[in-house]
Structure formats: C-alpha cells, structure tokens
Symmetry: C2
Subunit: 340 residues, 2 copies
Amino acid sequence: MVDSRDVARFAGVSQTTVSRVLSNSPKVKPETRDRVMRALAETGYSRNAVARAMRTRRTGTIGVVVTRITNPFYPEFIQVLSQHLDRLELRMTLWDAEGPGESNAVEAIRQGIVDGVIFTTALQDSAALREALQRRAPVVLVNRTVQGLQCDQVTSENHRAGHMIADYLLRAGHRRIGLLAGPPEASTASEREAGFRGRLAESGLLLHPEFIRVGDFTHEHGHESVRAWFGTGSRGPTAVFCVNDLIALGALDGARARGVRVPEDLWVVGHDDIQMSSWEAFDLTTVRQPIGDMVETALRMLLARIERPDKVPEFCRFPSELVVRGSTAHHPAQRALSAS
Amino acid sequence: MVDSRDVARFAGVSQTTVSRVLSNSPKVKPETRDRVMRALAETGYSRNAVARAMRTRRTGTIGVVVTRITNPFYPEFIQVLSQHLDRLELRMTLWDAEGPGESNAVEAIRQGIVDGVIFTTALQDSAALREALQRRAPVVLVNRTVQGLQCDQVTSENHRAGHMIADYLLRAGHRRIGLLAGPPEASTASEREAGFRGRLAESGLLLHPEFIRVGDFTHEHGHESVRAWFGTGSRGPTAVFCVNDLIALGALDGARARGVRVPEDLWVVGHDDIQMSSWEAFDLTTVRQPIGDMVETALRMLLARIERPDKVPEFCRFPSELVVRGSTAHHPAQRALSAS
DNA sequence: CTGAAAGCGCTAACAG
DNA sequence: CTGTTAGCGCTTTCAG
C-alpha cells in the first residue's frame, strides 16, 4: 500500500506538502499542488484514515444505538440519518442493542472508535449513559429522552399526542377505551400514556384496568392483547390507543384474527406514522412526527457537542400531528351519533 | 484520558507489560498481572482502539452495505449479523447506499476504516466491486451475487424457488399467471424470474407480456402493478409471483384497493419470508431462506478472507423452502377443481 | 518473565 | 510557500 511518503518522493516534494494538498491547505503553490495531485492519481494513493484519526483524535464515524432494528421506525430513522452522513462524509457504526446494550457504544467513545453516539432508545435508568455524560462523552438522545438528564435531547410532543388522541376518541363518543402501553422506562411510551390518561381523567373517564395492557414495542403485544380482549364471548373496548405503530399493526391483526371489524367494532390509533401505516392493509390513524427534522437536529447537536464538549445541553421537542385514516371512522360525527 | 503508560507508572511496571496483560499474554507472572489489573481498574483505563488499529492494521469493524434499509428484509439480516458481531466483539459500519453506493464502502477498506465489507445488494455491473476485488480487498457477497466473480458469495436457491412456485401454481390449475419482476441486475430477481419462467415454459406456458412487470423491490411496484391489472373492467391474472415479499405485500394491498379477493380472485406468492409476511394482514405464501445460516456463513467467509486474502473464493447456496399460507388456497386441489 | 526501543502513517507546530 | 521534526498510543521485536 502506497503512503503519503511514497507520493512525496514521486512528486519530488516533502511528505508534509502532500499532507497539505490532501487537506486543501491554501498555502501551497498551485504548481506544486498540481504536481502532487498528479502523483496522487498515478500512485493510486488512499489516505490511511486510522493514522489520520490517531493524530486528529477524530474518526469521522458516529455511533447509533437502536433497540430493535426490525421495528420499522428505526430503519426509517437510519435512512434519513444515512443521507445526512453521506453528505457530510461521515460514517455510522450501528448497534442493535437488545436490552441495555448502550455500554458497547459508550465504551466505543472511550476507545476513540466513534466521535459520538446517537441513542434512539434510551431508558430512564441507564447507568452507562449517566456515566458517559459524566465523562463528557458526546452523546445525543433522540426519540426517547431521559427526564432531567444533562444531555442534548430531541423528541416530539408525546404528551400532547396522547391528549390529541384522547380528545379525538372522546369526541367520537367512545367510553370503553383501551390502552396498549409500552415499557414505562421508555419516555415515548410513558409520555404518550400520561397525556392520554390525563386527558381522559379530565373528562371523568377512568380506564378499566382490563383495558390497559403493558408490553414491548412489538407486533405481538398488540396482537395478543386484542385477541385477549375479544376472546370467546368477551366484550372488548370500542377504541384502543397503541403507544406506537408496530403495536397498532399487531392490534389490527389481532382484530382480524378475531373477526373484529375496524373501525366498525374497534377503532385503532397508533403513533409514529411509519410508512406501513399508510398501506391499505392497515390504513392506520396515527400521529406523525417530523422525523427528518428530528434526525437533522440530533445530528447537528451531536456534531456541535463533539466540537464543544462543554456546550450547554439543548432540549428540542418537535410538534406532531394527528393523521386520521380508516382505522378510525373518517367522520367522527357519524360515530358520535351512533354511539350516543 | 489515561493511557497505558500512566497505568504502567501506577503499577510500577513497563508500558510493555501493561500491553501484555491487555492482550492476555501468557508470559506475565500472575503476581505482576494482578498488580496491573488493579492499576487498570483504579485508573479507569480504556484502550485506545485507534492506536491499536494503527499498529495491528485491524480495526475490528466490518462494513455492511444494503440498498434500502426500509425493505424489512435488511433489518432482519442486520439483526442476526449484529448478534454475531457482538459475540465476536466486532462492530459494524453500515452504508445504506441508494444506487451505486458501494464505492464508499470500498474506499473505506482502502482507508483502513473497516477490515472488510459484506455486500448484500451487489449488482452485476459494479465497477467499484470489481476494482476492489482486484486489489484483494476482503469482500463477501451475500443475498445478491454476481455471476463469475472471483469472490466469496452466499445466497439461496433462487432459481429453484422460481421452479417451486411455478410448479405450485401450475399444479393448482393457473394459466393466467403474472410476474412482478425486479431489477435484472440483481441476481436474486433475475434468478427467481428465470427459474419461474423456465418452468412455465417447460409446461408450454408463455406469460402474457401484459402480465410481466418490472420494477424495484418496493411496495409501490406491487401496488401499482396490481392496480393496473385490475383497473376498471380489465381482467387480470389469477396468480402472481412477486420476486420478493415487499413487492408481494404491495400486490396484496393493490388487490385490496381494487376489491380483488385473495386468494379467491388472485393468488399472491412472494419470496423471503420476512416476518411481516406471516402477519394476518398478509398471510403471504412465500419462500423461506435460512437467513441465520446465510449470515453466519457470510461472516465466517469474510473473517477468513481478512486473515488470508488469497484464499480461494467459496460460493455457497443454501436451500430454501416454500411456505404456503392464505394468500394462496391452502388446499391446491380445490383450486385445481374450480379452475378446470 | 520483563523492559527498552522502534515505528505504524499521519498532522501540526515551528523554522526557514 | 515548503521542509524538518516531533509525536499521537499502541504492539512487537529484541535483549536481557
């Protein structure tokens, strides 16, 4: 493998000059630059990124941690992020951490393998995360946040989303309402749930304990829950809020399995507006977050923090909007009438 | 940041000895090792992976290139790979390359950023790939392969899958058969198509040109195609083979949009058996590949090639199996009767 | 069993 | 504008 010293010899300059040309230093005589450029091309030189990283203490790679990459939300997230990184000539090291796998990523920062990490699936009690922040490791939380953590964080209006959905269901006349909750340590789940229950409570509605089920962010959770509600002879809720779309898709499938008609017998609402939610098979009413903006902001924050580790942490919450589709009646008024 | 020199000072040994302890060298007196271990713990040392990589010329990171991470097939792939890598204490740098983005990954090998690359979405005519191989860059192709390329490759019986499906449809009495093909440069698409058409031809069946549509591996392709076939008043095929599941899910949704009943009016068959295919909403008949084995084999090949760049390339093709579900009649005999 | 010394390929003062 | 020099933190001979 040819190194910059070889190129220098070839061009008849010092190795330093080659390095200068490579980093577009303005103080190289055009003539010399040309000669070096030619030498670069003719020798087929490629810069050794590891040696470079060793000197500069920057790898040009950032870490991304997700918890279950098969949840379609994360591929959508990664796709957007990937486009930004390409543009910036940066790279992404991905960890799909089942359980508290943040430690791998945190350790990678310490080892200088990545310049910083974006966590998409932080939990409230992550020790690894707290320790990393104490060490001023460049870290950004996006999607799931952690209350009171001195850390850059980006999310959307989860609490308000819960409000919107509660209002929407109440206004349509629903009283037998179900909730498919997520892990309470996940801020997305707990905030959406709190917003939802809070608004219902304000309207004097207390959810029937049977109609609240806690589970993972999985299709199975939605599927099993709805099947349980509508088991032989039992009377389930008339509407259900699932704290994310994957659960909601499971709920729709559970309804299908039981012959429960959506939206006639059951309204289903999710959160995230993943691409699949708009497919005919589901046509899911859900809440859309501005994922592009969220990713862009998180990345910007991370890069800024890598530059200035002592920067004061930002917290950014993006607005989200209800997207009404066929899994709830398109015209709430109709439902309100028939339910009253 | 504390380095191994600091640890050495702390433990009262040479920096070399610290390095030896870190790499589990057997020739360190247990007593000394203990002392170093304690120093390691007390100083909170983390090995600088970049300096290490510079010396050893190994980063412990492998690259993975996919073409559209939102195709659920790839997350499933990555999930399995990720587990293996964790176990081996390796990492993954991911490129989601829309178009011919292999060049980023190939360049990363040259720059020493990754030790090797797994390509999941190679195309027949990738110049970057050919060039990389010429340079003996450690590269493995999995899923999509390239005919005649001197390179480790792993795939499944795509051609036979086409056969199986053709046989299955013919035996059920179908004559008006559709094909939703993929990009011809993708071996998976072209092999499945060739197998399918070949077997139909052997049975004297020539596909109606209208019933063959070429597109990307997208939901939209399937969706649009079926909608076009079953537009107002037109008579579509009675069965369709989609070269992957994502297209098939689109086809199912297109059928739904047109009020075409599956399987009564239309049989739909896919390929890959992604998790979603088994969901009630789709219940898709498809072909399952042993994805775990494929990933494991590809990784093994890559690691072997990193060790021995001149190893003779292996080509590995795994068996796959037809998984019959509700998108085709569960009892082919019934259909055969009603169609005859 | 342990240490001294060399150097991976690059960038960044510093000197001219 | 260009070159000399000094490391970045580690692994790895080579001596002892």
